[in-house]
Amino acid sequence: METDRPDSQTPNQLRPLACSCSCSILHRSHGSASWAQRETKVLAAVYGPKAGTKKNENPKKASIKVIWKPKTGQIGKVEKEYEMILKRTLESICIRTIYPNTTTLVIVQIVHDDGVLLPCAINAACVALVDARIPLKHLVVAICCSITDSGCIILDPTKDQEEKMKAFINLVFPNTIVSVLPEGSLQEGSETMAHGIMTSITQGAMS
């Protein structure tokens, strides 16, 4: 069934992306990226690896610290949760045994929020890590799907659409480099690696 969207996009259509990463964005950082999906815009910076680890961290591996800066005001529970999710996701994709006893600092600054904020930040942080040449197992791709009352799935909703939807889910998938790895290693059991879910956050009831 068809659902009309106010911005005249089809249900499976992503909003226009604008991504740039180079040291021309932030000169002092080792890697930086700006990621925009239409109005939503996130700026990410990576510093490190720097020597030393904080207490409660494992010095045998590289540790990642994430700081989430909202557009205005102090960080609350929402920002703390986003920080934790981003840290766990980035820890999963980094090869942490190459630089033991180091800390990599990832700072995410929200420039504008028009829905789909967390997937935008995950994409920006991933690009910033690549720009900083942090060794990664694979990249990650983050999207947001929303579900209408009639069960239709809409990809990449805006903030207005998010509030009208019955439920939505943020998903993060791995994305491997197909030109380097042999064919067999992309399989895990009976499914390819790209079908596995790395991070999943849902809101609202689904069936």
């Binding site: 529970k77 703390k80 949760e81 596995g196 879910i197 999943s200 849902t202 609202g204 689904m206």
Partner: protein, 307 residues
């Protein structure tokens, strides 16, 4: 002969403890290969759960929940407030999750623990997503107060959850505790005082009550959760704190009593969640929901008998 036997027993026990400390991952994997866990549970079984309602007498609703060693204490306080302009006919529900230093060796006094706001946000999202509580029911406009057109008041539910012992699966225990406290909640009687404001009735005041006597809150479908660990090809239900710290991929699934999926929460982790693993987790959670619902119904019926 006896001396050598005693020495041998002691040394073998020390070796097991040393192996557990030095190589925790291999220690657990040795158990997983036999489809058992170090505390003797099978992989898909949750720990012993107990629910106790009415633990805090001065609160409007309270519950004490234990899952294994994890202990959660929830207390609810209700106040009369002015609703917001955006939703003038609704009350509100605020949930706070506290981890005092008594609950874990890694929690320090002073600054709040890292997990505290994360679990708090998760709880708020889950309870609002499930629409367990009709916020319009908390409104005081209507009924006997309908003739006062200028009257604008509603109940506000403030829920505090304290973690007394953190031994893994904190969100699961916190959610059961929050749900049990809400099922135990008694809405107090309120009256209008001489200044025209609505206050809570304490004892036998002569004031005219705006609403009826104490009544229970109507709960729609109730959400329950189960946290699982994904490690290689194994799925471990209801992990302890030690298992959580060793194996890093956690999946939390929340279903309500009508079978809807409220939350599928997987914050990163090295293992990927494929379709078959998610289906297995949903199956385990479905069994857990039936189990917990029977516990809660039994406890509520026991409370009604007492009253």
């Amino acid at each position: 002969m006896g001396l050598s036997n005693a020495s041998e027993d002691l040394s073998s026990e020390m070796e097991v403890d040393a192996f557990r400390r030095l190589f925790p991952l291999r220690y657990f994997e040795r158990h997983l290969a036999e489809s058992i866990r170090p505390d003797g549970r099978p992989l898909g079984k949750a720990r012993e759960t107990s629910i106790f309602l009415g633990a805090v007498a001065s609160a409007n609703g309270s519950a004490l929940v234990k899952i294994g060693s994890t202990t959660m204490l929830t207390a609810i306080k209700m106040e009369v407030m002015t609703p917001s302009l955006e939703s003038p006919d609704e009350g509100c529900l605020a949930i706070d999750f506290h981890m005092p230093p008594i609950c874990s060796p890694i929690v320090r006094p002073g600054r709040p623990a890292e997990a505290s706001p994360v679990v708090s946000k998760q709880l708020s999202d889950t309870i609002s997503s499930s629409r367990m509580i009709d916020l319009k029911e908390l409104s005081l406009v209507g009924g006997k107060a309908a003739w006062m057109a200028y009257l604008n008041a509603a109940f506000s539910i403030m829920q505090d959850i304290y973690c007394l012992d953190a031994d893994g699966a904190l969100f699961d225990a916190a959610l059961i505790s929050a749900v049990a406290a809400l099922s135990h909640l008694q809405i107090p009687a309120v009256a209008m005082n001489d200044d025209g404001k609505i206050v809570l009735v304490s004892g036998e005041d002569g004031q005219k009550p705006v609403n009826k006597e104490k009544r229970k809150l109507t709960l729609r479908s109730i959400p329950f959760s189960l946290t699982c660990i994904l490690h290689k090809n194994y799925i471990l239900a209801d992990p302890t704190a030690e298992e959580e710290s060793i194996m890093e991929t956690h999946v939390t699934i929340v279903l309500d009593t009508s079978g809807q999926l409220i939350s599928l929460y997987k914050p990163g982790g090295p293992a990927l969640a494929y379709t078959s693993a998610i289906q297995d987790c949903v199956g385990l959670t479905g069994q857990r929901v039936k189990e917990l619902k029977s516990y809660l119904d039994k406890e509520n019926s026991a409370m009604e008998v007492v009253v």
